[in-house]
Symmetry: C2
Subunit: 199 residues, 2 copies
């Protein structure tokens, strides 16, 4: 962690500046180190952009912010993936997403970034000729619900607001990476059992 990098983060608003003890000497505390670790985790493991991290950190640091909107902020920053034009079957995909939300009774506003990114992914699947993937969407949703329930339990253990908020962010962002890796391990296992030659 080089000094110029740290100063770059300060400039970018990711890290509060150190307390100046003299015009050319600043002192940094444990909170700075902690914040740096958070930044690196979101950057390296979570794959967020610097701008995205700024948004998340502002949400964390704003004590007026309702708790459950901070989760939204974190989630939104991870998913800046609505490139795909609208020429394609995105409208139909949106409808399917709305139906799923309805069927699940999820309290989500349609048009939320998560819903939008799900629609994008489904539309992409359709375009690539894997529309049948939608058939197993329910199994995915089951698993997601299960994971989300556990996540919430975990997060609820925190008491201090700041810790809670950070838990939410970390859990959301790094949880994705954890699950993706686990899913991959399970794939390798399952694939090996079905197609593999190692008996």
């Amino acid at each position: 962690m080089s000094v110029p990098t740290i100063k770059f983060y300060v400039r970018e608003g990711l890290l509060p500046p150190g307390e100046l003890t003299s015009p050319n000497q600043a002192s940094y505390g444990e909170t700075h180190v902690q914040r740096l670790r958070l930044i690196r985790a979101l950057l390296d493991v979570g794959g967020l952009s610097v701008a995205g991290i700024r948004g998340v950190i502002e949400a964390i640091d704003d004590p007026r912010r309702p708790l459950h909107t901070v989760l939204g902020e974190a989630a939104d920053q991870v998913v800046p993936r609505y490139e795909r034009g609208d020429g394609s079957g995105i409208a139909e995909a949106r409808k399917r997403v709305a139906e799923l939300i309805e069927a699940r009774g999820w309290r989500t506003y349609e048009g939320s970034p998560a819903a939008e990114s799900l629609a994008t992914a489904l539309a992409a699947l359709e375009e690539v000729g894997h529309g049948r993937f939608a058939e197993i969407l329910d199994a995915y949703a089951d698993a997601a619900e299960r994971v989300a329930r556990v996540d919430l339990e975990y997060v609820a253990h925190q008491v201090a607001r700041e810790e809670l908020v950070e838990s939410v962010v970390v859990g959301t962002v790094i949880g994705d990476a954890v699950f993706a890796a686990l899913r991959r391990l399970a794939h390798v296992d399952a694939s090996d059992r079905v197609f593999g030659e190692t008996p």
Copy 2:
């Protein structure tokens, strides 16, 4: 989808060149369009790099390749995230991953990219002060296993090798995005029930 972009993909080896009917006229078929859609899906939704897509496509196009290694190739390209130095508790995290694999009876080689990226994520969680996250790892693994099983069933429906391989790639890469979005929707729902004010 501009012409120069397509020519760029050809240069990069993502797309086979069109058949030349004359020195300044090439004809592209449905397979080219399909391939382009695949490229865009992996790029926009899957978040792969061009180099990563090249690796995946080479794996798809190589008929000698054992099926279950193609999945590995796709998986490896999605997860180029072992930045985080080794000064941290990565060794301990690796041990925890090995134990998890052992406990699950997963047929995975230790040190696989997925295992490595899981270890990285766990180490990052530890560093950020969320080592307790490991407690809910089993619930994550359960969900991952469940999803992986469904994925394999879905994929096994394909008969032609080429289609099967593409299913695997698409399912692996875009499946991540689908699950992440679903998890986020479920989070919003769960969070709203616990912390929200909308009754």
